[in-house]
């Protein structure tokens, strides 16, 4: 806890210092960057210590606010989230220093760094807070810090719109959390987490409140609408932090709430599995129909949150039906995926930032051939793309393997009811389908950006990014590989965290089952090594075979076309076209087609875009309705102070009469 506290102080102090130094942007950036890295590393060490020892620590300061108490604690569950937060923040800070130098006005650099450090510190405080009021304060500060970061580029109309959508979404979520905490603390009259308890009758309501409230931050479908707006608008290192770890605080909140609620009934698990399946499939479908690289990545975050929800749902069902292997593997899968997604999504967002930096656009249909010009960015992006598809030998495979095994263990152990078959279909079918679609999505992203010929002048003249950005990309890529190769460690490290969600009566069996999860993971890690060795040997054989032989270079075989141009390549949109058409039920592309007409056509036009299904057909109409109702009430607003006082007085009177009369 000591190291954690010092790290936090360094983070916050660095933030304020850089705000104070904003007259000298270079110094401000340097100070903020070093404090962010230093603070995060301290926090990381502190968190690891707690995670390895398994014993929670807590501190409490005096805070004279009604119902508030300034108590912080670190237990294994918090530390599972501290780990990725600290890691991604440290890497993003190194990256951001170079990134902001080129993309941010000097006068704003200090402010930007202030909010970045604040965001990092508040995320850590959120997972460490042990009092409802304190939690909400930190939660709000975190939301505001990220809001200001999203608005960095506030001159642009779409950025402002994205910011407002984000602000509205996050506040709607927070209002539900307020109700949740008040209900949880009602019995004991205190908002301290250790005093929280729920009446069995209320548990269902509380679960739904937590699901929607925290789900808004996490990005469950259908409350994901802010993600694809806000993440692309923010600077890339902030997107990496937001998409990689900030949305995970929603998962943390949900898990923490589950620890208060006791034995979960079956419908909680089913709800989570259903939400996971919907988020997974729709998230990746929306992702693969995008043309903006960062929007694509944001939707893919929705998909990955879906995978986490699938794991959680499986785990909860395992607890409900008392199948230890299922509970342990499902929860472990979800938690390991939290770490994995933070690493590879951080990597991909940083890669997207590098692309934008190097080629000045994120439009997939204007990029291409960047691997030759940006080899490091390209190679690391490839690692991230493979990891996000859950492919061996990278970390994404581990968490998906755990979730698959959890469901299969449950089904193999007790196959009694049809509902188990449906569970199996939902989880395995979703994971398989999502894996296939993710391969479509990320071969498209990687292929369109890095392979083939450049489709525009900007990408023809792209340049590799500077050393700091390159190093941070390589660090995260290496982390993905390392996590994969140290696979058998993770069930042991994350076991105690998973157990906090399991009711005490069921903990021993679950712990034993979690221990057994090392067997498949160790075998998987061995297979990874075998694969790497086989690839190495084959590469050596190929080199040996080709040594001294004739190797020719020529143009690509273009099937007899006389003068192909780079624009005749298969574009990103055409690549996923057939899939989008098959699923037009959900994806609903809006096409603007003016075909060339007549014998001597001059020019035609084809434009397509894919608006968000839920924003377009659900939230849009709902909010338009609210706006309409609100506009009907405009006559109340006359701009006279007397009238407003009258309203207040009338309200007080009505309340008094209602309460006392």
């Amino acid at each position: 806890m000591g190291l954690f506290g010092v790290g936090l102080m360094v983070l916050i102090g660095g933030g304020f210092l850089s705000l104070g130094l904003s007259k000298t942007p270079k110094t401000a950036a340097a100070v903020a960057c070093f404090t962010a890295v230093g603070g995060s590393l301290l926090v990381l060490v502190g968190g690891l210590a707690v995670l390895c020892s398994g014993s929670p620590v807590e501190v409490r300061f005096a805070w004279h606010v009604p119902f508030g108490s300034c108590s912080f604690g670190l237990d294994p569950l918090s530390c599972v989230f501290v780990l990725p937060i600290a890691a991604v923040v440290a890497v993003a800070a190194v990256y951001g220093r170079e990134y902001l130098e080129h993309s941010c006005r000097p006068s704003m650099i200090g402010v930007s760094w202030f909010f970045f450090n604040l965001l990092a510190a508040t995320m850590l405080l959120v997972v460490a807070a042990r009092n409802g009021l304190l939690f909400l304060v930190c939660w709000e500060a975190m939301s505001l810090a990220s809001f200001f970061l999203v608005m960095s580029d506030y001159e642009r109309e779409e950025v402002r719109r994205a910011g407002w959508i984000y602000l509205a979404a996050t506040h709607l979520g927070t209002s539900l959390l307020l109700v949740l905490f008040l209900l949880l603390g009602r019995k004991s009259g205190s908002l301290d987490f250790d005093q929280f308890s729920s009446e069995p009758a209320l548990a269902g309501t509380l679960f739904v409140l937590a699901l929607v409230g925290f789900g808004t931050k996490a990005g469950f479908i259908p409350v994901h609408v802010w993600l694809p707006e806000a993440h692309p608008a923010a600077p890339s290192h902030v997107s990496a932090v937001m998409s990689g770890v900030m949305i995970k605080t929603g998962i943390y909140g949900l898990l923490r709430t589950l620890t208060f609620l006791g034995q979960p009934p079956a419908w909680w698990g089913w709800t989570l599995v259903g939400i996971g399946a919907a988020s997974g499939i729709l998230g990746i479908l929306f992702a693969l129909s995008q043309r903006d690289l960062k929007r694509l990545l944001a939707y893919s975050s929705v998909e990955n949150i879906g995978i986490i929800a699938l794991g959680l749902g499986t785990g909860l069902l395992g607890i409900t039906h008392r199948v230890p292997a299922m509970a342990a593997l499902g929860l472990l899968g979800a938690l390991v995926h939290v770490l994995n997604h933070a690493l590879f999504k951080g990597l991909l967002f940083l890669g997207a930032g590098a692309v934008q930096h190097g080629a000045a656009t994120r439009e997939l249909d204007r990029l291409g051939g960047l691997l030759k010009r940006m080899p490091v960015t390209g190679a690391t992006f490839l690692v991230g793309a493979c990891a996000v598809c859950g492919l061996p030998p990278l970390n994404g495979f581990l968490s998906e393997l755990l979730i698959y095994l959890g469901v299969l263990a449950g089904v193999a152990e007790q196959r009694a009811a049809v509902s188990w078959a449906m569970l199996c279909v939902l989880v395995i079918g979703t994971l398989a389908l999502v894996g296939g679609f993710a391969a479509v999505c990320f071969t498209k992203a990687f292929g369109a950006v890095f392979l083939g010929e450049p489709r525009s002048d900007a990408s023809r003249h792209a340049h590799e990014v500077g050393p700091a950005m390159r190093y941070s990309l390589v660090t995260l890529a290496a982390a993905c590989v390392l996590v994969a190769l140290s696979a058998p460690l993770w069930p042991l490290v994350f076991r105690s965290a998973a157990l906090t969600i399991v009711p005490a009566t069921f903990r021993a069996e679950t712990a034993a089952a979690a221990g057994r999860a090392t067997v498949p993971l160790a075998a998987a890690a061995a297979a990874f090594l075998a694969f790497l060795a086989a690839s190495g040997v084959l590469a050596a054989v190929r080199k040996r075979l080709l040594a001294g032989r004739r190797i020719d270079r020529g143009p690509t075989w273009d099937c007899g076309y006389a003068a192909p141009t780079a624009r005749m390549q298969y574009t990103a949109s055409s690549y996923t076209g057939p899939l989008v058409v098959l699923f037009r039920m959900f994806v609903r592309p809006r096409v603007d087609l003016r075909p060339p007409e007549g014998l001597f056509p001059i020019r035609g036009r084809y434009a397509s875009q894919v608006p968000d299904l839920f924003r377009e057909y659900f939230f849009g109409p709902v909010f338009a309705g609210i706006a309409w109702v609100a506009s009907r009430l405009r006559w109340l607003q006359q701009g006279r102070i007397q009238l407003y006082v009258l309203y207040i007085a009338l309200t007080v009177l009505v309340l008094l009469v209602w309460k006392l009369g």
Partner: protein, 305 residues
Amino acid sequence: MVAPSGLISLALALALAPMMPSIINRTKALFAGRHGQPWLQPYRELWKLLHKGAVYSHTTTPVFFTGPIVGCAAMLVGLLFVPLAGTHPLISFPGDFLLVAYLLGLARFFTVSAALDTGSSFEGMGASREVFFSALAEPALLLALATLAALSGQLSLADIFARIDAGVLASGAGPALLLAAAAMMVVFLAENARIPVDDPNTHLELTMIHEVMVLDHSGPDLAAIQYAACLKMWILGSLLVSVLLPVRSGWLLADLGAGILGLGLLAVATGVVESVMARLRLVRVPQFLIAASILSIVALVLVVR
């Protein structure tokens, strides 16, 4: 779990995998009234390609020649876990079939990337279709394997197939097993670029799927691709044969012999399908694959209830 006896089946797989396309070709030739190519033609082609130089496009990057390497390595590693007709593979662990399925996915990812690397619109088209169709085939395969896992109560391929013997077939799981096998047959045809999903003999780049993606590869790279394709056929074929041929004598050689015979019959069956069926229209292929997933789901519901 490591079983040294798995080395024998591994060696057999490495040696005999190119025979499967050969058998398919001979069957098709028989139907067409031709003499057909020599039995060992695939080996000769591999040998010839391994002794050639290579041609690379100006457009390509190292991803282009990494594709075949990764594809071949993934299949080699996958073979370590795949049992043939009840014999023990070299390594088995709970969930190994997921690893095998995802290794196939890895190979596909890199094959597709290598195709996109050429910048050719035809290869892009082939890549697009390949990922599209295999994304739909993936649930069918995994759900069929999950059916087998649920049926046997085991999570590793070796244990699953050790439990699925003639007794299981007779005990009422017959319909479910057949449905799962049907789904796996569809996946086998789709993943190995066979009619009715893809036509390996077509001459128009526009209509190819798998072939068009490897148009630009040459020399040892092409050899790696072709050999990996043979191994892939062997892997998926072994899974299918292990379901359909529940012969478990307990003698390694007898079981292996039966398995290899089964693979030969599967190749003949594939040749027959290729000879008597037409290729589906491209817009119908997704339905065909979704139908396979549905067969798997029905099988799963039959087993778990």
